[in-house]
């Protein structure tokens, strides 16, 4: 019934719309750089975590697939060959001199050689790896359930988190690390994988040992694991957010 506005009105509207968009964009970027606004936004991620815990049980299982679903090549992301000379020396010798140190709040700190890990009860699972970037790949992982290793070292009652220290040093000079709570540490699909698609784990995918935490995003699944520590809090590790990417603004619970 009403005809659209006159040209001048239209020009005004277009200009108004244009400046509204510019204001929105610069406003959002400015807000992102404040201290308080990202903190406020973070409540969304706390709600995510609460909702995920309410909707799924602690022991819910990630989907497992068949051999037919395997990705032709399992994508390597992030580090594909750690530069650390100590790591390279271990790699040159097929990790025969490598041992996983497990210590912290445990009764029996222990070292696990690859041979010892391979001799323990193993689990093989074909699972989907979901990267925070948006892609997914399917691989067949074989390894020791983390719960088996924990049974050997006997965590103390004060232990609440498992921290994984890695051999790879990132572009900014910080060493990669990750942490999970005991729910995920004792989850049946949480394994310390030493094989991918039936072969020894390639260096590009985290040799000699990478952790699989199947209900979280890829960045939780630390590669090149050298040491595992049981702690009461991860606030004292690196920048205190529980992981390399967490220290750079990604959420600690990476369930979505």
């Amino acid at each position: 019934m009403t005809v659209p506005g006159s040209p001048s009105r239209r020009t005004f509207l277009a200009a108004a719309l244009g400046s509204a968009c510019t204001a929105l964009l610069t406003g959002c970027d400015a807000l992102s750089k404040t201290q308080w606004f990202p903190k406020l936004l973070e409540t969304g991620e706390h709600l995510n975590r609460t909702a995920q815990r309410l909707l799924t049980s602690r022991k819910s299982m990630a989907q497992e697939f068949s051999e037919a679903d395997l990705s032709p090549e399992f994508r390597s992301n992030g580090t594909d060959y750690p530069e650390d000379p100590a790591y390279r020396a271990l790699a040159a010798n097929q990790f025969a001199d490598w041992a996983l140190r497990v210590d912290g709040l445990v009764n029996r700190p222990s070292d696990f050689s690859l041979a010892r890990l391979r001799g323990m009860r193993s689990r093989t699972q074909i699972t989907r790896h979901d990267c925070v970037e948006g892609w997914s790949a399917i691989g067949k992982w074989t390894g020791v359930p983390l719960s088996e290793v924990l049974a050997v070292v006997q965590p103390q009652p004060r232990a609440r988190y498992v921290v994984f220290y890695c051999a790879d040093i990132m572009d900014d000079g910080a060493r990669y690390y990750e942490s999970v709570d005991l729910d995920d540490a004792y989850h049946p699909q949480t394994i310390l994988a030493y094989a991918l698609n039936g072969r020894t784990l390639p260096i590009a995918n985290g040799a000699p040992l990478r952790v699989r935490i199947e209900r979280q995003l890829g960045y939780k699944m630390a590669k090149y694991v050298m040491r595992i520590e049981l702690v009461e809090t991860f606030k004292t590790v690196a920048d205190g957010q529980g992981g390399y990417w967490e220290d750079r603004g990604y959420e600690w619970y990476a369930g979505i």
Binding site: E64, I138, I256
Partner: protein, 299 residues
């Protein structure tokens, strides 16, 4: 959820309608409160949430600017959509968009666009993403926070609409509505809009569109978002297969987002051509003016 060109908060219409009844047959314009305060607030909260969700979503998409069907991105099949940058023979970057095997040069907007005065390889341009520069962690924060705003606002709207009978009275098509569907389609194509008393109700296409958006597109896009969560996929292992697997759900999330953008474009178009200031005012102050001019009337 309640994006409304809206003609019809009938209850408030009726409140005012008492003294309007007498005048409705002559052509004297009169105003009445069309949208209640709660609806107006929820509408604008929703506008903000949808804008932020779209733009922060594009920020997230940009990090891996390809969409697939199935569980995995690496299955041996080509992506269904891919936005990428290539180099021309003279070294200039060119933006390339591939959709279902067709390739388009999209330099300037998709694949390659200007950032800080420089042609830069990025899927969607800085003006379409929150934050502008590539910053995935911050984009995710915006996205998840406003996803909750959007969800809570939408849930409140649905509860409100059911409890106040807004849904029943104003949104569910009546038998007459269904009978008038052919005429309504023609009216829309001719850009004719109801005037007088008829302008106080949603027309049937409008009702159906709102219902499809509110009860199909919006719940689906939320579900597709949840399906991308490895934790939520473990609720019932395999449920994501129903929607084409995790990557299929990511693709559907993207497609539905653009379907919502299409809805918004049509919605804003209809708002403009059916009396922009009147419509806009009715969603700000609530007051809508009914004009009964026989020359304007399509019927």
């Amino acid at each position: 959820m309640n994006s409304l060109v809206a003609n019809a908060d009938e209850r408030t219409g009726r409140d005012m309608g008492l003294d309007n009844k007498a005048t409705s047959s002559d052509s004297k314009p009169y105003g009445y409160p069309r949208h209640r305060l709660a609806v107006r607030i929820m509408h604008w909260v929703n506008v903000l949430a949808v804008i932020v969700l779209l733009m922060s979503g594009l920020q997230i998409f940009n990090v891996h600017a390809a969409l697939y069907w199935g569980q995995s991105s690496y299955s041996g099949h080509a992506p269904v959509l891919q936005i990428t940058a290539m180099q021309a023979s003279d070294g200039r970057p060119i933006g390339v968009t591939r959709v279902l095997g067709y390739e388009f040069q999209t330099t300037g907007v998709l694949g390659v666009s200007t950032q800080d005065g420089q042609l830069t390889a990025r899927a969607f341009p800085t003006w379409a993403t929150i934050p502008g520069p590539q910053w995935l962690a911050m984009g995710r924060r915006w996205h998840f926070f406003f996803a909750w705003v959007f969800f809570v606002n939408g849930a409140l709207y649905v509860a409100y609409s059911v409890l106040t009978r807004h849904l029943n009275r104003d949104l569910l098509p009546t038998r007459e509505d269904w009978r008038s569907i052919g005429r309504s389609i023609l009216d829309h194509l001719r850009l004719r809009h109801p005037t007088g008393e008829a302008a106080r109700h949603y027309n049937v296409l409008q009702k159906l569109t709102y219902l499809v958006v509110m009860f199909a597109l919006l719940p689906l896009i939320m579900l597709m978002g949840l399906g991308m969560s490895p934790r939520l996929d473990s609720v019932l292992p395999g449920w994501v297969d129903v929607f084409g697997g995790r990557q299929g759900m990511r693709t559907l999330h993207f497609i539905i987002a653009w379907a919502i953008v299409l809805f918004v474009l049509v919605h804003v178009f209809e708002v403009i051509i059916s009396g922009f200031w009147n419509n806009l005012r009715s969603m700000i102050t609530g007051r809508y003016e009914v004009r009964t001019n026989p020359h304007d009337s399509p019927r």
